[in-house]
Symmetry: C2
Subunit: 124 residues, 2 copies
């Protein structure tokens, strides 16, 4: 039995707009208890991803990135809802990331899948 | 076949001392490409854990925590090297965390195990 991404993904997705300040992005991550947020433009298109690691990077650089769009990663690694979970696990490992937006062919975000979701399969 | 934690854990552990500044902790996380660090006292004892999420929390609070010991989590959830991976997966899920130090009965840190390590079992 090989589950699909859609069986495991989190459908509750918290988005953030690229013009938001880093400080506000940090507040949203903390308030929602999450580590990863897809970033959207004003038009609502997926333009990046920002994680708690990116916030740590802006702290490490001392001079804060001002906006989410300055700190986010722009080439977003994604996956489809009908992909099998082993494909998702390999993709996370290949790119050394811990979560991916789940998108349809229109690049609309249907959910998020993370290594935490995948490791639930290990719990037996 | 049920692997043990010691078969999957990362033995390369980056520690940080509790009197280090948050900014320096952020630099260490970024330089090493990691999300989690066990915190040790001057005497070398495990006293906490700090993650990129804790750094985001200090940004969210606006007024920075000054030191690692102000931002770290003090009740560290750990696991043993001979525990099975399903126990590890359940413990991560129960406490909503993504990594744990692997300790021996003397509370010495032998490695770290994360949801990223566990999701490698899903890749097939
Ligand atoms: C190399 S990872 C390691 C730390 C952590 N596991 C994480 O994923 O954030 C850190 C970088 O990967 C980026 N990243 C995370 N998920 C991504 C994704 N789905 N697509 C593209 N970049 C991603 C983050 O924006 C961050 O700059
Ligand atoms: C609720 S988790 C969610 C975010 C992320 N998955 C993580 O583990 O950092 C965030 C908090 O859990 C704490 N934490 C992470 N690993 C821990 C562990 N092994 N023992 C105790 N607290 C831990 C962090 O210090 C942070 O304050």
């Amino acid at each position: 039995v090989n589950p699909m991404v859609k069986d495991l993904m989190s459908r509750r997705v918290v988005f953030i707009e690229e013009d938001t300040s880093i400080e506000e992005a940090a507040k949203v991550l903390v308030r929602n208890g999450i580590d990863h947020m897809p970033v959207v433009s004003e038009a609502g298109r997926l333009t990046g991803i920002i994680t708690s690691w990116d916030i740590a990077k802006s702290v490490a650089k001392g001079s804060f990135y001002k906006k989410v769009k300055d700190a986010m990663s722009k080439n977003v690694i994604c996956i489809g809802p009908d992909d099998f979970v082993d494909v998702a696990a390999r993709r996370l490992e290949q790119y050394n990331i811990s979560a991916m937006p789940v998108i349809n062919p229109n690049r609309e975000v249907l959910g998020m899948i993370s290594s935490s979701d995948l490791s639930k399969l290990v719990r037996g």
